[in-house]
Symmetry: D2
Subunit: 415 residues, 4 copies
């Protein structure tokens, strides 16, 4: 029992200690930052770090911008010093000159962020801080550079090896579950009853990645339905009146929703690892599972059809499936990548376009974005690496024979 | 319950999966490293990372050296590229040019180490890898530079904010306790019975720092005795026949042993944080505690006395205490820091020299290194920051009036 | 971690094993019961016990009645055998004759119930079985006698020493929390939002008793509000717009709702222990708490006023308080106990009638049952034992001076 | 996490509260017992119960005897009252008369013991109390009758359905493991190193039953070796130099030691359930396991050979095996049960005599009790129930063909 208890108490203790208003240090936050980086910092680091974090939380946006600018400008690299230390290292390579170079080549704000992170529980606050930075720094060249440092540190701290995969189910704590309701980004969860329908039945699963220093906050989660065969309708899948399936009787796992939870972790990718880990775990638990697919939206289909002057409102199902297949396989960005963002994600993970479904999402949003069409990407573990490599190097998109035929049919008509 | 269970299963799963001999990839490890850094790396990263880690574990030292050299040379920074990107950034500052510079200024081996760390449970293996590097790389300029990268990453990963303080007691798991026996570096633990005497009684405590990705491995631990008054003898403190004290009756907490456990984390300092955290936790638990001191060895005393031609074998207790006090306050390295390494640690933490004891460690080792003398450093929380700053900026050593007088007496005699 | 995990897996394993339809044994349940009590029972007990439990769950009420009758009649005591063994024991007192008597004096159905309970997780099913028995056995002399056996065994199994007090809060698992919503018997919980308001704020607490063999099922729970002073209105207390109080600032803990959860445990009393344990735990956690009171309904007030021909609809607040006080102190059942059931419970626990509030429950139910009046019972730990004893032996009701005066005022008017 | 934490804190809290010497109530313990059974008991029960338990722990044997006598005599059944209530019940059967009878037929000391058990953590103390009773009450008719009541209650409280099976391994808490060392009753554990050899290797397992109210105390445990084939030597099995087997490679699980831990639970049988549960759990975990056998001592062999005038010291191995087989199959007690106590246990569980080994236990104890012979009992799940029933009803002993032949050979020679 103890590691968890200790971890939680380590992370949470600060909440209950906090700084009383009397402890507040009203000096400019830049001064506090300098204290944190000075000699006293080594010993009084926690106190200064906590003061800065607490102050930041209470700041208005204008003040936050000021703080970010201080980091961006006053704690930036010094190019002259970089060159100087690089030269010294070239002339006398070795531990000492190398370290001097490394210190010079890394802006001091990175060390500041690391020191802020010494406060138990600070990691979540730093993630929120970056979320502010992304919001306030749009279009500002210096602040965007500052964000590169945050992202660099977060990529190291939120390394796959540090993440913990946790099942999320109806026995999970309510304060986690309410976040699942809040963060669901694909098919909104209306109520606790709706949540219960997605977590409690024997043919439903949900998994999330967590970081040990943010034990209350999912980073990303995926919702899974266990089915017989690949389903062709999200409303059917989520229907409250469907017959529940014993998990052992399922042969297919359907990833029907993946949601990133932390805007402050934008650009740090977890989805690929999450899906593969869940595939591995479900395979080990349920020997009957043979097929791992998604049931995914095609968010760009309607826009593309419109832009290319093709009608999608008055077409029959079969024609819509052809158009969707063609869009997924052939519509590209200027850089050659698929136009559809969801396709880019799954194909980049090494999945293949497995099936296209008409009348699959009959919600207003589904109708609007894709005429109700959806797509299943297949995660076929033995082929993932090869699919990925072809896609990454040649842009070639893996697809089932059926999808390829559908796409060809559309191409002929178009031609 | 679940976070811990999930964390453990995430960390441990790999152990049981492992790579069967048939899966082994016998290509040169450098080639595997290149695969890990290539396009397939994103998707097949875990497999390649695991192959490299498993291969490394089975390598002889000569091969390990080869691998380290590959990292040191083939994955080093390219100075020309650093200059080029720096210039581009100066001419057109912004997110893109800044990121290019950061990529160029960081050797690719850092990214390699981060990717190795994606394997669940890899962190401990990387710590062991650095331990090999420190051992094999002595005197090798390139390998020492490589170590700077390991240390840089570890400082970030083993940030105070990620560590968990755990009490270690007689209800702790045996596989943790056997490591306490193995790692105890100050006063050796002879047997499980001896361990029991240090953990079970109501007047004994032990605490360690752990990292969530190495839940079985203490990083550092401290042993504490709860007493009435400051004790003057380690043998008395550890005696199996002493009377046990109810913890509520204690007014003093004595830190009598601090042991670092991981050679691969050399240079990443935890002791300062550990002591302060334990002082804070014990204060909260036991309101009767007033004094927090160490009972520490004076490892350099005998050597210094010999070097300075002073006899310490035929002196009386009082004279030995004077000599010891003088040594602690006045004997300095060329750079002005105290000669005694234990003193450097505690004074650097902001402690003060509180008392010097003769006949305090009557073991052969104690006799040999300091004529049996020991010292108590006092952790007086309100003054720690000030003590530290004076020590850091002016080298001034904080000491009790009594110790100062003892030192002066020795100085007079010497003079 | 492991005891809980092991306990849960022990309790839950059967759920997932279950008996496949093919394993079902369709012999009359009485025959299965005899198998369970026979020689094979020792070895195949679990299988037969599980068959009986599973069969019972699938039975219609008529069949259940048949099973209960089998227990009541065929597995009853044999008076002749009781007399015979009693006589033998008197003539030759000793271990053997005593055991013979004990076996004869205990109906075999008790042993049957114990054997059913050998199945992991069976305890909850037996509690549900008794709930059926209470429902189906009303007015049936034999089945009511059978219930005496159930109750006897449950009193032993649900002994206070086996119960676990658990805080229930917003970090509790959802499948527990949904039971809190379902079981709340005093002031209904409308929604998860309403539940959140009762659990999450720093000035709210909830505690329940659990049995280790039914870890998912609260037996009884109490909801507590931390306040400054004794509150006089339940709507005020539960208002969503009230100002939240820091728990350390509270001086009063208000027990505003106590709910029994298991109809099958009727007559096994937990409330007394629960309140005292919670008083003890809250005292230890929050040193500022001085007063422990309830805010309780007066369910019998309106009925009594009506029966005694007193108007309570057109009286002012002060007059209603007098009437309520008089009702609580003076209205008695034929056996001399207070007429009000809630009063009987708290006075029997050793509490005293502390204050009477008008306009305290303005809900339709509150208006109807007591004209909106409520009462606070005070748990004054040092006096509880004495209060209880006086009440138990002489029927004397402890009350504050104020309540006594109110009651006297009403008595005068009545007279 | 919380149920375990709550359970532990509920059980342990009393330890740390305890009764200060000033709280001690020095009235005769019989008077305290009467208080506990009186009206105040309902409310002040915990206090009186705790006083009695604490007083009992400090008593000398003479006083304990006095207390037991008080229970045995003053709190015994009243035969006249039994008859009276029985008659009343016969004349007017019903809930009320039945309950009156039940109260009269159960000695009041049973209720006393139940009330003592209300104190959190008391269960372990009551088990220790019975251990005292068994020791002090030998040969005393009244105290032996009192023991029947303890045993009756314990059989209900330690019902299989309340027990928790826990693996015991090298990650178990040291305070549990030291009890394994202390309680091992078959093949003594010399040291922590010896324990480690039995717990840590991949081909070793250990499981124990625990009761939730005594979470620190194993009730019974079994040690298991995973092997290829049925081993014929305990020294070989326990050898520190044997080659470790990967658990997946094993086809046989060998139960080589079963130890009861609590003298106060004598007569409450757990072994049968434990073995079967472990067989079930191991089967589920390791699909390769085909055979579940014991490697058991034959404690009565040498005595029987001596008594029947047969030499076992100068016989060859094959002859010794014949004699052992014959002893196991043919040597009976006057009541027809097997003479050998270990055989009675395993045959009663439904096992069969599978193989007899010479030179299997070469320790002095093994040589002395059976000339070094040991026996393997086979747990063949599908046949257990049938074996048991035949054994229970006809005394017929199940054995392998080989053992039967060996026995026949001995019989011929004897004849």
């Amino acid at each position: 029992m103890s590691l968890l208890a200790d971890l939680l108490s380590t992370v949470f203790e600060r909440r209950y200690i906090g700084l009383s208003p009397g402890d507040r240090d009203n000096r400019p936050i830049g001064e506090l930052a300098d204290e944190l980086m000075g000699t006293r910092g080594e010993v009084s680091g926690l106190v200064f770090a906590q003061k800065i974090l607490d102050r930041f939380e209470r700041m208005a946006d204008e003040e936050k911008l000021g703080f970010f600018r201080h980091l961006a400008v006053a704690m930036n690299i010094d190019p002259a010093r970089v060159r100087e230390t690089l030269e010294a290292h070239e002339q006398a390579p070795g531990k000492h000159t190398y370290r001097e170079f490394m210190v010079a080549a890394e802006p001091r704000r990175q060390e500041l962020i690391r020191r802020l992170n010494q406060v138990p529980g600070a990691t979540g606050q730093l993630v929120a801080m970056r979320s502010d930075l992304l919001r306030l720094g749009r279009g500002d060249v210096e602040l965007q550079a500052l964000d590169v440092d945050f992202r660099h540190l977060f990529a190291s701290w939120f390394n796959r090896g540090f993440l913990v995969l946790r099942p999320i189910n109806w026995e999970s704590p309510a304060h986690i579950l309410e976040k699942i309701i809040a963060y669901e980004a694909v098919h909104a969860i209306d109520s606790w009853e709706d949540l219960r329908r997605r977590l409690r039945p024997s043919d439903r699963r949900c998994f999330g990645f967590f970081h040990p220093s943010m034990p209350d906050e999912p980073l990303i989660f995926v919702e899974v339905a266990l089915t017989k065969g690949v389903p062709g309708s999200i409303q059917g899948l989520l229907s409250g009146t469907r017959a529940e399936l014993a998990s052992e009787a399922a042969n297919t796992a359907v990833f029907y929703s993946i949601s990133n939870c932390q805007p402050g972790l934008a650009g740090i990718s977890f989805g690929n690892s999450l899906i593969k880990q869940v595939v591995a775990d479900l395979s080990a638990e349920l020997a009957g599972l043979r097929t791992f697919v998604t049931l995914s939206p095609i968010p760009g289909l309607a826009g593309w059809l419109e832009k290319t002057g093709q009608d999608h409102e008055n077409v029959d199902a079969q024609r819509l499936r052809s158009l969707a297949a063609h869009y997924l396989l052939a519509a590209k960005r200027p850089d050659g990548a698929p136009l559809d963002p969801v396709a880019r994600f799954h194909l980049g993970n090494g999945a293949l376009v497995h099936a296209v479904h008409a009348d699959a999402d009959t919600s207003p949003k589904g109708r609007a974005q894709s005429g109700g069409a959806m797509v299943s990407y297949l995660y076929d573990l033995p082929k993932i690496s090869q699919n990925h490599e072809r896609f990454a190097t040649t842009g070639q998109i893996a697809a089932s024979q059926e999808v390829r035929s559908l796409s060809n049919a559309a191409a002929k008509i178009q031609a």
